[in-house]
Symmetry: none
Subunit: 213 residues, 4 copies
């Protein structure tokens, strides 16, 4: 009997993932949430339209689950990098590389993340609170990193949370650039420039300089 329950659970999990994958494909193809109809997602998943609603309460819940998956993974991998030994700068470079990797990997999902998610996040009572939470956790990880770096004298003195936000903003800016302007330019070309930019945050050794206009 326990086996049977497990079997059913496995099947449920399988279907869930199948639908999520289908939703991802369709959204990538249609370039966003609005263009992706439940009908098309169902077809792509090889199930009937009504079946989706057995696994997800609504379209929003479906999208939410999809986005959460990515966030969950990013948070886990980011955690691994940030707890590595080494200087804050080295770990920041690791985080940069990871984020650029995600940009590359999830490139096609970017429009959804960028355009459609924000609207939903602004609404209360939405299934997207989980994503908001994940974003907050990721931001907290980065904030912790900058905090360490500042207290260890590696980075210039600044609000660590602001630095984290700007780092994330920078990554998003790159993603947006890649998405809108230059899908043909490999992100690897952007990495040195990003390093140079972030290098601007490093505190010159044996220097009393502070940020000033």
């Amino acid at each position: 009997m326990g086996a049977k329950v497990t079997k059913k659970e496995v099947l449920t999990e399988f279907r869930t993932q199948e639908i999520l994958a289908a939703a991802r494909r369709v959204m990538e193809r249609r370039g966003g949430v609005e263009g992706a109809t439940m009908e098309e997602i169902a077809q792509a998943a090889g199930v009937a339209k009504g079946t989706i609603y057995l696994y997800f309460a609504s379209k929003e819940h479906l999208i939410s689950a999809l986005m959460s998956q990515v966030g969950e993974n990013l948070r886990r991998e980011l955690e691994a990098i940030l707890t590595r030994p080494g200087s804050a700068w080295e770990r920041l470079l690791g985080a940069l590389q990871l984020c650029l990797d995600y940009l590359r990997r999830e490139r096609l999902l970017f429009p959804v993340y960028f355009r459609d998610l924000p609207r939903w996040l602004s609404r209360a009572n939405t299934p997207f609170q989980r994503i908001r939470q994940l974003e907050e956790e990721i931001l907290a990880q980065l904030t912790g990193l900058f905090s360490q770096g500042i207290s260890q004298g590696e980075f210039v003195a600044a609000d660590p949370r602001l630095l984290a936000c700007l780092f994330r903003g920078l990554i998003r800016g790159v993603g947006y650039y890649q998405w809108q302007e230059a899908p043909e330019i490999p992100l690897t070309e952007a990495e040195p420039v990003l390093r140079a930019l972030l290098g601007g945050l490093r505190r010159p050794r044996a220097s009393q300089e502070v940020l000033s206009s």
Copy 2:
């Protein structure tokens, strides 16, 4: 007689601006183009639904006009700054300040700009080509600035267009940050950090260093 024509023109201009302002308000309130219906825009403008179509041929034309207004102004002001005398770095700082000003001023319109415009830009035969053109012109202005800076040895050697894109990406990242995360943090606090980041692009005087990992 001339006065009458002027009167009519003034009224038309007034209504046009009134509707644009209403559209802006509704989009801000609804968080994007999709959520803003012509009905609600009309109500916000204090006119009937059909009246909007006396001033704009379609919803797309209306949005297009709204976005173009902002782009037009930004381009003009940016041009003024970039043609000022001074070092490339000084002008870059000026551009930075201008863009941050725009972010502050057009803060509420940002979601529209960020999320909805991209989809339309990807379609041909759309009234949004004007905006695409404006974006390209602005990008060209920035590219020119970086180009000068590089050839004059002020900035590290890199593709100037990539730098321009990253600059813009950075600004957008900040805007996105401001929009989503910290409407309460005044952007003025972000400026020094942005300067520090951009400072990473400056070439150390009398140095042959190039970007390397």
Copy 3:
């Protein structure tokens, strides 16, 4: 004072005709009533949209007046022909020629007459009763002609009103044909065939034949 009133009347009449002519042009161009907007008619007439409503109570009244004009003329000319001396057959040929002339002349108005008028005629309390009346009068004229022809032994015995209706139906069929199928074929080619067809109604001299299956 009397002169002034007359002057005004003349102007009113002039405007009325001008608007009617414009409506005709627009309907011809647009291929019917539905495609012709009051806006376009007003432009074609060189007046403002609202002005039309000073001369015609509604779009229906305008169309009605336009169609009545044609019917009025046809009836008058038909009357002239039918009161000419000569055999019923000769007068029938005269009527045929007249109707074909009208078809040629009013060719471009035919779609309106054929498609749009009928719907309105079927409604009560419509300004189109005048047209219905004109049609009835024209039909009565033709009925009278056939009636004479039958009583004088020129035509086979049949309900004269039915014959009149069929004659009209034949004309309309030709018009429809011309309109839909062969605008390039001059109607003159159809005339001999129509004569042959109508000749089928003539009673063979000194014959006792009656219509039978």
Copy 4:
């Protein structure tokens, strides 16, 4: 299993016909296509508005299907009659009877056929091309009949296609008459007169007469 598929197909076919019948009823009631809204058609069919779009891609497709049904049947039955043995005249009488039957049967659909179809036929890339094709085929059938009749000396010398068009025009004229003027007069009364008229096309035996004024 086969039964299940059949069941579904039967249901689909049933609904399709049900909607077509509803559309027919509404158009008859409203006197044309323009007056018949999808809403009202849906109500008449006892389904929701959206349901229609499960069976027909658009309003035009719906109307097109309706008209094609009739044309398809007429063409088939006409073909059966025209390939019967016998003189051209006998077959022409058969065709006449068939067409009058259709006029009687489809009487209420006539306005649609007469008024609305023509406008659509003039547009390219429309689902109505099938109807255009049907019309052409029917006309070709009639043309062939006249062609035979002429070459066999049964009918006066004339362009057979013109004769076919006039025949069709005559039928339409009768239909139009019936529709507008005398729904109370049974068409059976019109048939002898039509025969007489068509008889005018017959070539007098052993005569060299040609059509002349």
